[in-house]
Symmetry: C2
Subunit: 149 residues, 2 copies
């Protein structure tokens, strides 16, 4: 079983190992970004991560945060979630799960359901495409906003 919610432990030597294996470097900035990302479980935007990490590393730049997140994504350390409107969101959970973005408050939530991998098998039955992945990001209304609607 997954005793860690799909998250790689923060501040661990694992980040370094994984980044190196993917051909990236592990810098203090990246460690800081990773720690912050693992602490924030609300699917933060790059900007939000930037603000949070700047409080412990004031000299870091937004470009470096984007750079770090890109290296994480390419190393499989985090997920980049995109929904039409606004900014991309990042998730340190890398296991197969789904998301709902609330149409009212715009926040993004994890949602339970069968993994996408299970569905992918029934997509493109003729095998025309080499399917590499994809995330299911749904629209909906979160419990809180439903109450206030």
């Amino acid at each position: 079983m997954d005793r860690n919610g799909g998250r790689s432990p923060s501040g661990s030597p694992e980040l370094r190992t994984t980044l190196l294996a993917a051909g990236h470097r592990c810098t203090p900035q990246r460690e800081a970004v990773h720690e912050v990302l693992c602490e924030m479980r609300n699917h933060p935007t790059a900007e939000e991560i930037f603000r949070a990490v700047r409080s412990r590393m004031p000299a870091i730049s937004l470009a470096t945060v984007y750079n770090a997140l890109e290296s994480f994504e390419s190393a499989g350390v985090c997920l980049k979630l995109t929904q039409g409107d606004g900014a991309a969101r990042y998730d340190s959970r890398t296991d197969d799960h789904h998301h709902v973005q609330c149409v009212d408050c715009n926040r993004m939530f994890d949602v339970a359901g069968p993994p996408l991998a299970q569905w992918l098998a029934s997509i493109d039955p003729r095998g025309e495409f080499e399917l590499l992945g994809g995330r299911l990001v749904l629209e909906g209304r979160c419990p809180n906003c439903r109450r206030n609607a």
Copy 2:
């Protein structure tokens, strides 16, 4: 059966009726955008639609195209497809179907498979969220790019 591929007929009074019902106006510009969108079956971006519609209506502006597409989407006349990188793409097919965006050529393709509606039933089994919709946009490699890879 769906003899029209999920597309509303172009240049028809249906567009007018549907827009009016949704509280929008039907202008010559919107009719032109709709016609072009129905002819382009390659999931064009707003920019591409703009260029195509400008050839028959040179004075139209990009902002008007965005405006038209937004009114179409809100009236259920077209779908707005978003994938993390780059521009949103528009589809005059509004029936439940899926898309793959090629990681090499960036074009977007229709792909066969069970409708999302069928899957939605198994998402969020506790009914915490009021699920309103969502589109499945997958990443993959298209037949043409596979051949040249």
